[in-house]
Symmetry: C2
Subunit: 480 residues, 2 copies
C-alpha cells in the first residue's frame, strides 16, 4: 500500500483507476451533470500531446483538418436507415425552436459531413478525399458511465475518407489499422487486437467494422479506435458522386476512423500505471523531467541558479523540463506528487551534487535512482526513448500472456476467470453464427469480439459451440 | 476587377468578404442549419496556427489548459443574477430528459467552471489561479449571422482567473490587454482600440469590461477579445473562497478573458486581404512558401528533384513549404489559386532558373517578383519577418488614419460617413451619461464604444451632447 493510493492496482483495479484519476488530477467527477467530467490541467496537457501525435500521423497520410458544426438536423440524421436506428437512442436533442429544424448534438459526424462532400466532390481528380476533425461528441449513454472510458461527452478525432473503388476503401481500412499501430501501440505503448467485428456488432451503417480491442488490467476489453468500411451506404443516402475517368457518374466508396483520444488516455493510464500512480510515456508527458532543488536558506540562490541552467539546457535539447520551486512543500512531498503524476524523470539537485558536478536521476518506471553527470544531462533524450521501449515491451508481454487458445466452453470460462482472452475456432461471424454467439453470451457471459482484421487466421477444426466446420478463429472476452 | 473576385475590396467590402471566404476555401455556408458554418481545411489550418500562438501566450503568463463540459445545468446558470439576465435569450437548451436537469449549451463557461473553482481553491497559496480552455461555444443569435463574425457556434479560448485582491485582478485585466497586443496586434497584425465599455454595455455579471475594437474596412467596429473584471459577483454566487494569510476566509476576485479565434480570423482576412484575395501573415500561414515547378515531359524528373531539394531545405530551416505538383493545373492557375489563398511567398522554378542557380520569388503583399539565389533560399525566414512587419505597418497606418477628433454632432456624422471613428469629449460613461448616449444613437445611429482601457485620456472641454463638463474622452462608431 503506498502513501498515496489506498489500493493496489492488481487487487482492485476499478478503485485504483478512480483514485489515480483523482489524485493525479486528471479528471474531476464532481461536475454536477451525470456522465460529464472536467478534465483538469494535467489531463488536458496530456490529451494535447496525444492529439498532436495523432493529428500528425493522419496528416502525414494525406488527411486534412476541418471543423464541422456540433449540431446536425434531424432530417440529415434520418437519411441512412441503419445509422439512424443504431444511433437514435444515444442522441441528445436540442429543444426545438419554432420555425427551425430539430437538431441533434453530434454523436459522430457522418450525417453532418457527407452532405458537404456531395457539394465538394465532383470528379475522380478529387479522390481520394481525406478529411478529419478534432471534435467533442455526445452520446446519451444509458449504461453506467466511467470517466474517460464511457462518458456522455468525449474528445476524439474522426476521419472520413472517400475513394473511387471498394479496393481503395478497403486499403484505407488497413491503413487506419496501421495508424493505430503507429500511434497508439508504438508511441503510446498500448498493444491491441484489431478485431473485425461479427456482422451483428458492426457500426450502424457500415459494411464491416474493425475495432481495436485493448486488454485492461482486469481482463476486460476496451474498444479503442475503430475503422469502418462504409461502402456506398452513405454516399447513396447523401448523393456523394464523382465522374470517373470515362465521364460516368459513380457513388464514392467511404471509410471512417474514430480514435477517441480521451478514451485512449484511459488505456494509457490503465496500461502503464503502478501502485505509486501514473507512469506516462516520455513522448506524451507534458513534463518529461521535473527538477527538484534541495536547498537551505544559505545556499538557495546558488542552487536555484544551477537548476535553472540545467532546465535551460534540457529545453535546448528539446526536452520538456520544469523546476518545482514551491517553498511550502518539502522535497519528499514533491517526489511523491510527481511520481503520482507519472513524470518519467526526476532530477534531484542539492549542494553535494553540485560539488560533484552530478545530479541524482530518478526513473519513474523502474523507480531506480542513478547518478548523472551534469555534463551529460542531454542524454536524458536517449534515456527517454529507452524508457518508452521498456513500457512498450512490458505492455506487449502483458498482452501476449493474456491470450489463451481454448477448445471447450469450460476452458473459455477458466480463461476469463483468470482475466484472460479466449482464442477459439468458431463457425461463422456472419448471420449464421449468431445462435452460437448467443450460447457463449448466455452460458459464459462473454462476447465474440471478432477475427483478426489485418491477417486471416485459418481454423483447423470445428466450431467450439455447434461442432460444424469452423470458418473463423475468433477472440472471446468481456468488455467495458 | 480580378479574374477571381467579382468585386473590389473597397467598393463592396461585404461582398468581397463573402467571396474571399468561399473562393479561398475558408468556410462553406451551405451547411443546412442557420448560423452554423463549416470550416474547410485551409481555414482550419489557419485557426490551428492562431490557437497555437494564443495558447502559448496564455501559458507563458501562467495559464493552464483544461476542458470543461459543453453542457451547463440551468440551476448553475441562474446563480448570478445579471449573468442569467444577459445570456438567457442567447442560450440553446437541450430537450429535457425526465429525471435529469435542464441543460444549456455553454454560451460562455463562468457558470460551468466556478462551481469547480469552489472545490479546488482553498488557501492564498492556491492564488493566483489561472485556467483557460479552448472550446466551441453556442449563442442563439437573433441578429443576422455572418460567417466567422457572428455565428451561432464559434471557436474561442476562455481564460478564467482568480486573485486574492481587487488590485491583482485589475492588473490581470491589463495583462489581458497586453496579451491581445502581443498576439492579435504584433503577431497577427490587427491593431485595436482597448475600449473600456460604458457601464450600460458591460458583460453580464462584470464590474467592467474592456473590449478590443477593430476597425473593419467598411469603417464599422468589430469587437475582438474582451476582458472583464468580474469582481466578487461570481465568487459570491459560486462560493469561491480562500483562506488568507491570517487564516480568514475571503471571496476571490475574478477576471475572464475571451479571444474568439474564429472571429479574429475574420479580422485577419478583412484587414490584410486585397483585390486578389487573402494575404496571410507569414507567422500563421499553414503554407509559408508554395513551390510551383515549371516543367515539360522532358525535364520533369530533373526539375522535381530540384524543387524537392529546395522544399527540404526550407523545412530544415523551419519554414512551412509545399510543392504544388498537380498535373491537371497549369502554373498560371496555380499562381492564381495560391494568391487567392494568401500564401506569403511563391517560388517558381523551371529549367532556366536551375541553370542560373536561382529561383523566381513572388511576394504576395507587394505582388512583386524578384530573383533569389538557390544558395540563399533560407533567407526567406528573414523575408517573412519583414513581410509581417509590412502588414503590421500598413494596418497601423490604416487605423491611425481612421480616428478623427470631432467637436460637433455634425462632425461625427461626417466622420462616420467617411468610414471613420469619432473621438469626442463626453460627459460620462457611468449611468448619468446614458441620456447623452441615446442622443448619439438616435440622431446618428452610432454607439459610444468606450474610453481607452489602458491609458486615461483627459478631456479639456465639455460634453459634445449636453455641454456639461466632460469627464471622458470616448470613441464613437457603428458596430457589427
Amino acid at each position: 500500500m503506498t502513501k498515496g493510493l489506498s489500493v493496489k492496482k492488481d487487487e482492485n483495479f476499478s478503485k485504483w483507476y478512480s483514485e489515480v484519476l483523482e489524485k493525479a488530477e486528471i479528471t474531476d467527477l464532481r461536475y454536477n451533470v451525470k456522465g460529464f467530467v472536467v478534465i483538469r490541467p494535467w489531463g488536458a496537457m496530456i490529451l494535447e500531446e496525444m492529439y498532436k501525435l495523432y493529428e500528425q500521423a493522419l496528416q502525414k497520410r494525406g488527411h486534412k483538418p476541418s471543423f464541422f458544426p456540433t449540431v446536425i438536423p434531424k432530417k440529415n440524421f434520418e437519411k441512412e436507415a441503419e445509422h439512424v436506428k443504431g444511433f437514435t437512442p444515444e442522441v441528445f436533442w436540442l429543444k426545438k425552436v419554432k420555425g427551425e429544424d430539430e437538431l441533434a448534438l453530434r454523436p459522430t459526424s457522418e450525417t453532418a459531413m457527407y452532405q458537404m462532400y456531395s457539394l465538394w466532390i465532383r470528379s475522380w481528380r478529387d479522390l481520394p478525399f481525406k478529411l478529419y476533425q478534432r471534435a467533442n461528441v455526445f452520446r446519451y449513454e444509458t449504461k453506467a458511465t466511467r470517466p474517460l472510458i464511457r462518458a456522455r461527452e468525449f474528445y476524439w478525432i474522426e476521419a472520413h475518407d472517400c475513394f473511387a473503388t471498394k479496393e481503395e476503401a478497403e486499403e484505407q481500412v488497413q491503413e487506419d489499422i496501421r495508424t493505430t499501430e503507429e500511434v497508439m501501440h508504438q508511441k503510446f505503448g498500448i498493444p491491441f487486437l484489431p478485431m473485425k467485428r461479427p456482422i451483428w456488432d458492426k457500426f450502424a451503417g457500415a459494411e464491416y467494422t474493425i475495432g481495436s480491442d485493448v486488454i485492461m488490467p482486469d481482463g476486460k476489453l476496451l474498444q479503442q479506435p475503430s475503422t469502418h468500411l462504409l461502402g456506398q451506404h452513405f454516399s447513396k443516402a447523401f448523393n456523394v458522386k464523382f465522374k470517373n475517368k470515362e465521364g460516368k457518374e459513380e457513388y464514392v466508396w467511404q471509410t471512417c476512423y474514430g480514435p477517441a483520444i480521451s478514451r485512449i488516455l484511459a488505456s494509457v493510464i490503465s496500461q502503464h500505471g503502478d501502485n505509486f500512480g501514473l507512469i506516462l510515456p516520455f513522448i506524451i508527458s507534458p513534463i518529461q523531467v521535473i527538477i527538484v532543488p534541495i536547498f537551505t536558506k544559505q545556499n538557495k540562490e546558488k542552487i536555484i541558479k544551477e537548476v535553472k541552467k540545467i532546465k535551460d539546457e534540457l529545453i535546448d535539447k528539446g526536452i520538456k523540463a520544469e523546476i518545482d520551486l514551491r517553498e511550502e512543500k518539502r522535497p519528499g512531498e514533491k517526489y511523491y506528487e510527481w511520481e503520482l503524476k507519472g513524470v518519467p524523470f526526476r532530477i534531484e539537485l542539492g549542494e553535494k551534487e553540485i560539488e560533484n558536478k552530478e545530479a541524482t536521476l530518478f526513473i519513474r518506471d523502474t523507480r531506480k535512482k542513478e547518478k548523472i553527470s551534469l555534463k551529460e544531462i542531454g542524454k536524458i533524450k536517449k534515456l527517454g526513448e529507452e524508457y518508452d521501449k521498456r513500457l512498450l515491451k512490458k505492455a506487449d508481454d502483458f498482452m501476449k500472456d493474456r491470450i489463451i487458445e481454448c477448445k471447450t466452453l469450460k476452458e473459455i470460462e477458466e480463461a476469463l476467470k483468470e482475466k484472460k482472452i479466449a482464442k477459439v475456432e468458431f463457425c461463422s461471424t456472419e448471420k449464421e453464427g449468431i445462435s452460437c454467439a448467443e450460447v457463449i453470451e448466455k452460458e459464459i457471459g462473454a462476447e465474440i469480439r471478432g477475427t483478426l482484421g489485418n491477417k486471416k487466421e485459418i481454423p483447423k477444426g470445428n466450431c467450439i459451440v455447434c461442432g460444424k466446420k469452423a470458418k473463423e478463429v475468433v477472440y472471446i472476452g468481456r468488455s467495458y
